[in-house]
């Protein structure tokens, strides 16, 4: 953790939720700013700029998507959105609109803290610096573009390898189908969401111990995937 603790801005209209976030986040050592409306949140985000924003999608005065759009006009600050369970479409929209991650209400604080840590880590390190990544039985040699499982080389097609790289690069972060399609297949093929599903299934078959119960290539139901090297 850097010398000055990260500043987190909470934009949330429900006081009880703000209260318990304040309690647990300050306990973790984060500094906090709070706003109860979207307009206030945008104002507070100007001075001093936060290191991370926790944004409730259901604010009374503004659409959460609009807040994300406005923040993204001038800032790359990581945004974690809070949303209800049945709002998959909104989650995807928020993620594709520039949010970095989401947590579904009601949530356990541990889950949120993990997301915060991941988001803060990514904002610090933009690119993969190491040349070898290992998770479970798998070892990926980025320099040689070779993948090993239990020491034996695993053959991946070029697109499979590209997908794997994209997911490795965003370790711990949720990635929407659309994002993966754009990153791997290019900007033209953004409607064929099932490409991603098929290729993720392939990766699981080749790299997971039990493809039906994946430990690394996790599914975020209705939203996309999350690669987690922690297992």
């Amino acid at each position: 953790m850097p010398s000055s603790n990260p500043l987190i801005l909470i934009i949330e209209d429900e006081q009880p939720i703000r209260r318990f976030l304040r309690a647990s986040l300050s306990d973790e050592g984060y500094r906090l700013n709070e706003a109860s409306t979207g307009a206030e949140g945008l104002r507070v985000a100007q001075q001093p700029p936060p290191d991370l924003v926790i944004l409730d999608l259901g604010l009374p005065d503004m659409d959460g998507q609009e807040i994300i759009r406005r923040l993204r006009e001038w800032s790359k600050v990581p945004i974690i959105v809070l949303s209800a369970r049945d709002q998959e479409v909104q989650k995807i929209q928020a993620l594709d609109g520039g949010a970095d991650d989401f947590v579904t209400k009601p949530f356990a604080i541990g889950e949120l803290l993990a997301r915060i840590r991941t988001a803060l880590r990514h904002s610090l390190t933009e690119s993969i610096e190491t040349t070898v990544i290992e998770f479970g039985e798998v070892r990926v040699d980025l320099g040689a573009r070779v993948v090993y499982r239990k020491g034996a080389e695993v053959h991946l097609t070029p697109l499979e390898y590209k997908l794997l790289l994209t997911m490795l690069k965003h370790d711990g972060k949720v990635l929407t189908h659309r994002f993966l399609l754009r990153e791997v297949w290019g900007p033209s093929d953004t409607t064929e969401l099932h490409y991603v599903r098929v290729f993720v299934a392939n990766l699981r078959k080749k790299l997971e111990q039990d493809p039906a119960r994946p430990a690394y290539f996790l599914t975020e139901p209705g939203v996309g995937y999350r690669f987690t090297s922690g297992g």
Partner: protein
């Protein structure tokens, strides 16, 4: 005292009339005897006064006679723009009734009440426009000349020698709330005319010659004054009746007009009307349908026209039926206490009158106490043409030729008989001739029968009466034979032709009855508006050999075509507004009627028991006017009313079904509420209790504190799950979830479900077998995942730790077969279906029985959303793996995968 009490009926009538008027606009007529007396001028002057007193006055239409004084008066008054109609290249300006209704002023001025509208207007006559304005509550001022009053029409014709075509029914005139007589002496009028103040110069000359003669004008003036005086008199009378100052004479007079096809009947009707007005008496117009008259369309049409005239003039019209015209009329007249009968003078030739007594003669003879007024009918040229035409039409050459042929044939048969038998048997010959006559009579009617009879007598005389082969008669007794033969022949022919007419009529009536019966039967077996409309229109179009369209009022009150969208009727632009008008007014309109005559079809309202539900448009292939013949019209109206009742019945059935569904939904909702409220309150009570303990007691040891906090956390989780289930169930129930269908990899859905239930299934042994070649599946991934989660949670909750759970899938002829089975205790026999019910909970839950009771119901709803099924049965795994008590439970989900999986480019 009692004698001066007002008659309650009279009061009621007065009140009702007043009420009607209160809703209706009032009508004021500026009444004069000729053009130029100053009606329009006076009306406009009054309008300025009304405007000054703050009334909302609008000029609807004023004839542009270009009289400068009149034009000047138009300044300062708001005028509605006129509607311009293009009639054969001539631009005609007409009063715009729609604009008037939209503008809805307090008072509108509409000149020339008797005007006939240009083709393409809504109504034929302007007085109908005015009626509609009054109906919507707009007050109207208008102008009228005396010669335009319907009942005075023929008198004016007699006096001036000019037949006025534009007439206004007396009723409109009588219903006027206010009458202002505009009078000017004929000399002054003529002066004004000569000064050119009335018509334009060249028109003036012609007008003077034809109409503006002093004698004419005086007579017309007298008529107008008298009419106005009558009107005032009747106002006073009715006022007196209400106040009951003096008991008026009981008016016992009731008039009856005999209506026949003769054109002179119109005159009789008008005369009767005048008399009825003068006597302040009720009057009836009556016609008798004889079997022979019914079969003649010309006759029927004429009678219908006369009836319409009588109705316009305020008569009650009655159609009697019977063989005996005079008898029927007199019987009816007595039953209605008629005091005077009006009948037209028949102009039959004298010899005919000798043969057959006319209706007039018979009436005079048997009328008893009823006065008979015989009215001279005017000679009318077109009458003779009509009669001649119908004669030609009806002259039955074939019948007459046959009559001749059969007379010859009879002679031959009689001759052959004589040869065979040998003896001279003129009696037999006579019988054979009569048989021939009877045959002709039955086959060809009375005319040919009479001819056959004459031929028969002549042939009989010639061949069989000595001296043979001459017409001479030796024995005078044969004269008697001839006489009897002629008499019998005529009798047979009369009877036969009457029988024939009756048969024709009976057939017609039978056809009608059977049509109605069939329609009724068909309609009663169908439900659904569109089907009813199509069945009825099919039947009716068959009946009239034409096209039918049905317009119905939908729930929002909009009129839309429900049947015949592709037909000629639907293409016609006038049709929809016409249907709308018919529905609004519950009146027949369209081609051949007085309203919207330029429509391409006849529009009949569908009047049900409660309201007008629509209109049916009928267009005959050859002649629309045939549709309006009384008989046909009655039949069509009967069909329409059957359809209307069927449509209403249908609507009622729908309403009933809707309210039943609503009641059922209400029932489900209340069950849900009572169930849910218990389930919600239990965890809430636990949370609230734990929290209050934590807050209130400071001396708790660390482990108790932790326990309480765990309770709060667990109960909150449970509450959350319950709420999610309830929300999802109600969304699925309400059909609010349109499945978000995408191509999915089943393995991923199973994996995700297992991931999310991993904590609950810690003690269970879960295996999966999903074939590697399972294609992409077109599903709502989230819903299927939810289904799997619910099943897995169910297994976790209801089977003991250590139980194995197996998930497998395969494709089976277009269906995805997804199986989730366990080797747990299973459910008791017969409960396999019951467990999918909402709020059903297995009694043997190892937990404390606090599942939501919705998990499996949601599974079923999700399967249904995918057009699939989910069933439960004892699993095979259970019976194999465990000792007898464990039946195991297997869920089988079958979901159709109709689409072929898309290609995924490898690479």
């Amino acid at each position: 005292m009692n004698e001066h009490r007002p008659d309650p009926d009279m009061l009621l009538k007065a009140v009702q009339t007043k009420e009607n008027r209160a809703r209706r606009g009032s009508l004021k007529i500026f009444f004069g005897y000729a053009a130029g007396v100053g009606k329009t001028f006076s009306m406009l002057e009054n309008a300025h006064r009304a405007l000054a007193s703050g009334r909302d006055v609008v000029v609807g239409y004023v004839e542009p006679h270009a009289r400068p004084e009149t034009q000047a008066l138009l300044d300062g008054l708001e005028s509605l723009p006129t509607k311009v109609l293009d009639y054969r290249g001539v631009k005609l300006r007409e009063f715009d009734i729609d604009a008037a209704i939209v503008r809805h002023p307090d008072l509108i001025l509409v000149d020339e009440l008797a005007h006939t509208n240009a083709e393409g207007s809504r109504h034929i006559k302007r007085w109908q426009d005015v009626e509609e304005l009054l109906e919507v509550g707009i007050h109207v001022w208008t102008t009228l000349n005396v010669q335009h009053i319907e009942s005075l029409n023929d008198i004016v014709g007699q006096i001036t020698g000019i037949v006025v075509r534009e007439t206004v029914p007396d009723q409109v005139f009588e219903m006027a709330d206010d009458l202002e007589l505009i009078d000017l002496s004929p000399d002054e009028l003529l002066d004004r005319l000569n000064e050119g103040k009335i018509y334009l110069a060249e028109q003036a000359q012609r007008a003077i010659l034809c109409f503006f003669q002093k004698s004419n004008l005086s007579a017309l003036r007298e008529m107008s004054l008298r009419r106005a005086a009558n009107r005032i008199h009747s106002d006073v009378e009715s006022a007196r009746k209400i106040r009951s100052d003096a008991r008026p004479w009981a008016t016992t007079d009731r008039l009856l007009v005999c209506v026949g096809p003769s054109p002179s009947t119109a005159r009789v009707i008008r005369t009767a009307k005048r008399m009825a007005t003068a006597l302040d008496a009720q009057w009836l117009a009556v016609s008798v349908d004889t079997p022979s008259a019914q079969s003649q369309t010309q006759t029927q049409l004429r009678i219908a026209q006369h009836f319409r005239l009588a109705e316009r003039l305020g008569a009650e019209t009655v159609n009697l039926s019977g063989d005996d015209v005079v008898g029927s009329i007199l019987e009816y007249a007595r039953s209605r206490n008629v005091t005077k009968i009006f009948v037209g003078k028949t102009s039959e030739a004298r010899w005919k009158r000798l043969l057959k007594r006319t209706v007039v003669d018979q009436l005079l003879e048997s009328s008893g106490g009823i006065d008979i007024y015989v009215i001279h009918g005017e000679r009318n040229d077109d009458k003779s043409i009509d009669v001649a035409q119908s004669r030609i039409e009806r002259f039955n050459w074939f019948g007459y030729a046959n009559a001749f042929g059969i007379a010859i044939a009879s002679s031959l048969i009689a001759a052959a008989l004589r040869k065979l038998i040998g003896s001279n048997s003129e009696a037999n010959a006579g019988m054979i001739y009569l048989a021939g006559v009877a045959f002709v009579a039955f086959r060809f009617g009375s005319g040919p029968a009479i001819v056959a009879c004459l031929f028969a007598v002549l042939a009989f005389d010639f061949f069989f009466v000595p001296p043979y082969m001459t017409f001479a008669v030796a024995d005078t007794q044969y004269i008697v034979t001839f006489g009897v033969m002629v008499a019998i022949g005529l009798l047979i022919s009369t009877l036969a032709s009457r029988l024939k007419d009756q048969v024709t009529n009976t057939r017609k009536r039978e056809r009608r009855t059977s049509t109605l019966y069939e329609l009724g039967r068909q309609l009663s077996s169908i439900s659904g508006k569109v089907f009813l409309a199509s069945a009825a229109s099919e039947k009716i179009s068959e009946l009239i050999n034409g096209e039918v369209a049905v317009y119905l009022v939908d729930q929002s009150g909009k009129t839309e075509i429900a049947q015949g969208q592709d037909g000629e009727i639907a293409k016609n632009l006038v049709s929809l507004p016409a249907a709308q008008w018919v529905i609004d007014h519950s009146q027949l309109a369209g081609a051949g009627t007085n309203t919207l005559p330029n429509a391409c079809a006849v529009f009949i309202p569908l009047v049900g028991a409660n309201s007008c539900v629509g209109a049916i448009a009928i267009r005959s292939k050859d002649d629309n006017s045939k549709l309006l013949e009384p008989e046909q019209r009655q039949l069509l109206e009967a069909c329409a009313s059957q359809l209307a009742l069927a449509l209403e019945r249908d609507q009622l059935a729908i309403d009933a079904a809707e309210s039943r569904i609503q009641a059922e939904a209400e029932q489900v909702r209340s069950t849900l509420l009572s169930s849910v409220s218990h389930d919600l309150k239990t965890p809430l009570a636990a949370i609230a209790g734990a929290c209050s303990t934590l807050l209130a007691t400071s001396t708790l040891d660390e482990s108790t504190r932790r326990q309480l906090l765990e309770t709060v956390s667990n109960e909150a989780t449970r509450l959350n799950r319950l709420l999610e289930n309830i929300l999802q169930m109600s969304r699925l129930d309400a059909g609010a979830i349109a499945p978000n269908m995408q191509w999915h990899v089943l393995e991923e859905l199973v994996g995700s479900a297992l991931h999310r239930t991993s904590s609950e299934l810690v003690g269970h042994h879960v295996t999966t077998r999903i074939p590697a070649d399972l294609p992409l599946l077109y599903l709502d991934g989230l819903l299927i995942e939810q289904l799997l989660i619910n099943l897995l949670e169910n297994a976790a909750k209801y089977t003991p730790s250590g139980t194995s759970v197996h998930i497998s899938a395969n494709m089976d002829s277009g269906f995805l077969r997804l199986v989730v089975c366990d080797n747990g205790p299973g459910v008791s026999e017969g409960m396999e279906e019951k467990i999918f019910d909402k709020f059903y909970r297995a009694t043997r839950s190892p937990d404390d029985g606090r599942g939501s009771g919705l998990g499996l119901a949601i599974c079923r709803a999700i399967a249904n959303v995918h057009q699939g099924t989910i069933t439960a049965s004892p699993s095979h795994a259970g019976s194999v793996n465990h000792s007898g008590t464990n039946r195991g439970l297997e869920f089988l989900i079958r979901i159709p995968i109709a689409k072929k999986a898309p290609n995924v480019p490898s690479g």
